[in-house]
Symmetry: C2
Subunit: 257 residues, 2 copies
Amino acid sequence: MARSQSIQPSNLEHFLDRLTRRSVLTDEEQKAILDLPAYAAQVPANRDFVHLGERVDHVSLVVEGIVGRFGQNSEGERQITAIHLPGDMADLHSVVQPEGTSALQALSTTTILRIPHASLRTLAARFPAIAEAFWRDCMVDASILSQWVVNVGRRDARARMAHLLCEMAIRCGARDKGERQFKFPLTQVHLGNALGLTCVHVNRTLKALRDNGLVTLRGRTVHILDWEALARAGDFDPAYLHADNDPEQRLRIVAAA
Amino acid sequence: MARSQSIQPSNLEHFLDRLTRRSVLTDEEQKAILDLPAYAAQVPANRDFVHLGERVDHVSLVVEGIVGRFGQNSEGERQITAIHLPGDMADLHSVVQPEGTSALQALSTTTILRIPHASLRTLAARFPAIAEAFWRDCMVDASILSQWVVNVGRRDARARMAHLLCEMAIRCGARDKGERQFKFPLTQVHLGNALGLTCVHVNRTLKALRDNGLVTLRGRTVHILDWEALARAGDFDPAYLHADNDPEQRLRIVAAA
DNA sequence: CGCATATTTGATAGATTTCAATTTATGTGG
DNA sequence: CCACATAAATTGAAATCTATCAAATATGCG
């Protein structure tokens, strides 16, 4: 089982960055977030650390590695519904809705920070602007989820794969022009679970993309050889990620104290 | 174009019901919600009333009819990502994230109430518990969306259809034992857009379900002939709808004023 | 080095789409 | 209430995409 230990909350900074990219928080509010109690845990690849139907009393912040949120059908076949990278709260929604209807799985060796609901709720109650930032953060995830449905429902295997790789490139911060590369340690089984495909077909789809000179996936890293072509193949428009760091776009409903 | 007029906010009661089924609100908070300004509009079937990429300054509450939220691929093929019934706020998320990445379409002749973001934000800022209830409501939608991915990604056409019809039966309140029926005025094209199938295959799938004595869809109403068998065929577990009306399960983080 | 896991490939079956046509409902004006 | 126009539902045949099954090869890890 995953072991826990109390640590300094310095890794909360990454999460705070994520929040302040889209929401406006005062220094006091930001400090309050950094002061949250957090308990680190190592999770080996392919381990489920939140199970289907489990009611949790904490959220899981991804510090290192990759986490998949998933549901499954009656035959136990998994469908990954979200991929969470370092800095993401994998289940922030559980703060207001702790009865879980999906589960969390480490897709690679992962470090998470567990943060008690109780602490987050105290914070949200004391600082309405933090509750607002949490809400907004959940809505960004929902926006991504919504595109996920479009991807799985209305694109063929090639376009699905291209779209996912484009999304991951942006979210992993690989935004340089020309050749981009980023670490992405998923197996082809994981990719199949994410895209609603079998791993055999994932393999063939990747081969086709590789043969076309669009992208290679070797070992644990993705090399994007032709970003324009990949984005076209995947019908990719990054607007839904709300990743542009424009301070003008940041919102705050609640007045500062 | 849809015409607007100011009306009494009595139709907000249905929305308030939806909120208080899962959140705890004081009388004052409830009254504040009912006092929201609202502008009614009629929308004919198949009209888009929020367009892709549009930035809205109001939310749309469904009063009558059925609304679909959708995205689309580069060829304009639509994928419905959520179906909203009377009492649902189709885009409550836009309060904290107004840049839209999906659009709204009337799936049948529909009446909506437009409620300005400004009013909702004032309310959320003044009553943190209302912001919390809004957040929670959005999370219920996200939970449904998550299952939608599982449905489209990991079930065949028959199971997909069965699952959707089960979900709609519950959400339409058709919970009587034995034969259930409910109004569901979608065309087979709409069903295809919801399920990631062509309308031709929708037709064949419905025929198969009908021939098996599970369900019929005639005119604008669904008759469920064998609920158990349909739920089994659709691999349906209603937990994700969070529809059980157990007062014990209602949450409130924020202290009452 | 050797086992376990992951990737790759081939052949075949099955599911879904596409294209095209026909039939059936639905609504509207006379 | 009927005739008409339109939208929706239905059906068939062929093409395409994806899954399934089975096996071989590669890779990583202790």
